[in-house]
Every structure is written in C-alpha cells, then in structure tokens.
Amino acid sequence: MHRRLLLSTRKGLFVLRENGADWRIESHAFVGDNVSLALADARDGSWYAALNLGHFGVKLQRSTDRGESWQEIAVPTYPPGEMLATGDGKPAVAATLKLLWSLEAGGADEPGRLWAGTIPGGLFRSDDSGASWHLVDALWNVPNRAKWFGGGYDQPGIHSICVDPRDPRVLRIAVSCGGVWQSNDAGASWNLCATGMYADYMPPELRDDPNIQDPHRMVQCASDPDTLWVQHHNGVFVSQDGARSWRDVPNVPPSVFGFAVAVHPQDPDTAWFVPAVKDECRIPVDAQFVVARTRDGGRHFDTLRHGLPPQPAYDLVYRHGLAVNRDGSLLAMASTTGGVWLSDDQGDHWRAVSLNLPPVYAVTFA
C-alpha cells in the first residue's frame, strides 16, 4: 500500500502520496480554507480534517474514502452557561469553541472513540466517530483550570493527547498554559503531573507551579509509554516514569526553545526537535534551519542540516509540524514557509518534497 502524508495548511489539506522514490501531491481538499489539523484513524482508515473558518467558526469533516469525498460532522460545543475564567486577569467570558487543537483516536478496542482537545481548554469525547461530542466535565471542573491562561492564543488550550497503548483509559494531555494532566479512568478523574517542569519567564512564586507550565507539545513513546518528551516554552523536558516527574534537558543545540517534538516509536531515547529563538522571536537561530536529535535520552545531541535550506532560512515548524511514522522509518516535517521535508535515515538526510506550499500547521501520516 502507498504511504500517504496529510498536510494541514492555511490554504487547504494536501495529500501527499509515495510513488516509488517520489512523493507527489495526490489531492488538495478545502482549497483556500484554513485546515488546522488532521487525523488518520488506523482502526478504520477514516480521515478527519479540522477547519478553522475565519468567519464561520470551527468545523470538522470526515472522509471514509481516503479524501475522495468529505462529510461535515459535529464539532465539540460548550454547554450553555459554561464560562471561561483565566489566570492572566482577562475578564471571564462565555466558553465557546475557538480551535480544535488536538484530535486522537481511542484504543484499538474502542471503535468510534475519539478525543478532541480545544481552545479554550475543554477536552471532548466522542463514541460515534464524531457524530456527537461530550465535554469531559471532570477536567473542565477542576478548580485549577481557572488559573490556566493562553500562550500565543488568547485562551488556554489542549494541543496534545496521549492515549496509553497499554490501556486506553489512561490519558495524558498537555495544556498551554496549564501543565500536564493524567486520567487513569477514561477521563472520570484527573491529576496534575508536571512536577519538575519550570518556567523561568514567570514570576518567581509561580516558576515551579505545575499548573502554569507551558508545554508546547507532548509525545509518548509507543513501545515504552512511560517515556514522554515535552518541548516546553522554557526548554525540553523528559519523563521516564509516566509523567510523574520531569527532568530538564538543557543542552539541545542550538536552542532549547521550539514547538515540535517527535519520539521514535521503538526507541524512547531517540527524539527530534526543531529549535528556534525564544520567546516571541521564533526564527531559526542565526537563520540556520536545523533539527536537533538525541539518541541517548537527551545526554547528547546531533545537529542535523543535510538537505535543509541553506542560511538564511526563516522556516518555523509548529507544534504539529513534525511527525514520525508508525515503525519509525520515516520522518516528516513542514514549515510556516511552506517547506516539506522527509527523512528515511532518522534525520541524517532530508529531502524537500516542496518548498512552496502554504504555511503548514500539521503533518500526519496516513
């Protein structure tokens, strides 16, 4: 079967298909519209595309024929009366769906179950492949949520959902800015688990508060699910005890700041990052676009640039813009400048599929 890659971009969803040694654009759906992320559900082969229409709100579309046709399905909605208070002093407002920021399939034995993370901070569950959605009340109602706040966006949001491959009732989510949370009972109860993360940019009293941490992206190793990697606003953190504690990884070259992270599905010590200049600058260090890779759990790093654009390059890779496929043999990365690169040797060499696409928000293997 041909391998495919879904690119969620500012101007539609591009489907890339492997054709011998080449990857080519097979189709372009939602032409001109803002596609914020996609999910390829390995359980039934269906694809999902989240749209953020500037005028008409957030929409969700589903395809059961690999993108030949799409049907609009329901989006998560906030129940009447739900309010959003945030920890940064903004006045409370009605909670309304602003962005679908993460979408993940449930366990192999949970057909139809999906999890959706949103701005302004609600997690939603579907048990019917997105025909209906339910707010996960237990997380929405934690008192700590009133202290969450937006990072980059006006309101807080859930951008990472890790469904534990050993037990799909075990969920770990990452919130900007609200730390990392774990449920062991399919969302019925939640614990804050960002101990060890810190935020030097916050007032000293809040620096180590797990509830205000700003993980930019969290990923979990499929073969060793107790290992999770986080690219945080302050730097890189790794957990080897299922998110109970986090260890700082201070030596990522050329910068510990960034958005994206990927972990090898069969090797918890191998992870990739795409560094940039902090905080609001967000361009490659010295305009040299590189990938940082560790193969020993963060003790040492390689700086990878073979096949990436020469200096000066101002590509930035967003949090969902770097992915590794299911067996770890292929990496994909795409940038805000519309560049798309693949590597089949763990990042040592990259080849450009295109350098002229619209800004890319997310890459998804299908």
Partner: protein, 95 residues
C-alpha cells in the same frame, strides 16, 4: 415574509437547495425568529452563523434592507417586516 439571503462564501458549505440559492422566505417578527426559522429548515446553517450559545459569530455581518446591523448582541431587539431582506455575509475582517 422576510427573506434571508446567503452570500456565496457561506452558501458553498451547505447542501444544495432552492433556499440556499434563492433565499429563505421565513416567518418571524424579529431577526432572532427569522434566523431560527431558517436554521430549522437548514440545520447545518446554524453553526456557521451563530456559536453554540446562539450569539452571532463575530465575523459574520448582517445587513437588513441594506443597513448593517449595529447591535449584534441582541437578535431579539431587531424587528423585521414582511418585506425585509436580510443578507448574511462574511465580515471583511477575520478571514
């Protein structure tokens, strides 16, 4: 009956129908009731025009007989008449 006309940028998201293309002739004495009648006839339209709490989306513009709706916060407060034409279109912000 008041008539609700959709801009093409909005209509393109909806299933084909005579209403979608020629406008919805609806019952209603207020803007809220007229919109609600259109939503009942075309349920997918609702989520494109209002949010989950029924508030008009920030970047949706409403023109009533050629005049932009000034107060988007209370759709009940705007009355409509039998010959009122209501245009729903994308605001020139937020695209």
């Amino acid at each position: 009956m008041p008539k609700i006309v959709l801009a093409s940028a909005l209509a393109r998201w909806l299933p084909a129908s005579a209403d979608r293309d020629a406008g919805f002739l609806v019952d209603g004495l207020t803007l809220h009731d007229a919109l609600d009648a259109a939503f009942k006839r075309c349920p997918p339209l609702r989520g494109y025009v209002v949010d989950e709490h029924g508030a008009l989306r920030h970047h949706v513009a409403v023109f009533i007989n050629g005049n932009a709706l000034r107060d988007k916060s209370d759709l009940h407060a705007t009355t409509v008449a039998a010959d009122t034409e209501i245009y729903l279109l994308q605001a020139l912000s937020g695209g």
